[in-house]
Amino acid sequence: MTLIATGLTDIGTRRVSNQDAIAWHVCPDSTRALGIVADGMGGYKGGEIASQVAVNVITQVLVPLINQPPVDDAAQVRAIRDAVNEANEQIQALREEDPVLGNMGTTIVLVWIQGSDALVAHIGDSRCYHLSGDQLDLKTRDDTVVQNMIDDGSISEAEAPRMPFRNVLTQALGSNEAAEPSLCRLQLARGDRLLLCSDGLTEAVPEADWPGLIPARVPLREQANTLINTSLENQAADNVSVVLILKES
């Protein structure tokens, strides 16, 4: 059983700073892995800090556990909740210290894989996709006003890209008293990939194009490169980030 991971982030073509932060880690025997993407917001400075704090804190809490033998489901959920809570508290503490950072926050999407079992946690509109062959499945539900309106039938999915407040989140790390990540479990077969991304990717490259752009036979790093480069060719307005994890065997 071998897991391989990679990731890339880019400022995009129009922003003055990269407010996305990413991280990935594979344990020494390659049977367990962690991937994280965070998309910060709340001003030029705040966005960068919030996403970086979230990624640092969560990595610090979870990497030691990933380097240990597999933990049971309940312990895994507990550890993720603890890590996310810790990140939430640290971002909130920084907001209180410095008024310039007063409204910063960040999305977070992370996956913790143990063998074939993946646990995905997210807050906000950064996403996790499961790629099995050419089949692409979205595993997260955006915490956005627009997603709520799609779910209650107010608008169709086709109308979403035109919505004026499509970036308004209903939940973000650092902006709410309690951080409540949504969790989802899935099974990975040999050759399956998980793709974590910020909304810069989904806005710049249509999802339907992804399987064709990143065929499974291509090395994982090259796949990440292709997604970022295609976003830039399409004049990505936002920062673009991807983390890819492959269950190679």
């Binding site: 006003v145 309106m149 107010s154 919505m163 004026p164 407040f165 970036n167 989140l169 902006s175």
Partner: protein
């Protein structure tokens, strides 16, 4: 408050404020917005004015065609259900063109922000 501006040769000839909860559009004098023109059905379409359930202070405007003969179009696409109107959408009622104007919408445009608890 949002409004529908009636356009003739790309010039605004009349502006109707969309005062809810429901604005009826058609040829019959009963309608909130009466358009006395042959391509318009007696009761052609209506616009529901509703507060957004998730975003305080935001008003949504949904247009529905009321089985009109010549159809209701948003940005040249004939609608077949209820559709939300966005600032600057071009609405066609029969052969009559309108621009939907919602200035308040601009303040939120592309501003990534978070709903605080």
């Amino acid at each position: 408050m949002a409004a529908l501006s009636h356009l003739v040769d790309n010039l605004v000839v009349n502006t109707f404020e969309l005062d809810g909860p429901c604005v009826h559009i058609g040829r019959h004098p009963d309608n909130t917005i009466q358009i006395d023109e042959i391509s318009v059905s007696a009761r052609h379409a209506h616009i529901d004015v509703e507060p957004n359930a998730y975003l305080e202070g935001t008003i949504d405007y949904y247009i529905t065609d009321d089985n009109s003969t010549n159809g209701t179009f948003v940005n040249d696409i004939r609608i077949d259900g209820r559709q939300r109107l966005n600032n600057n959408d071009v609405v066609r009622i029969g052969w009559n063109l309108f621009r939907f104007v919602d200035e308040e919408e601009n303040t939120l445009e592309k501003t990534a922000f978070i709903l605080e608890e």
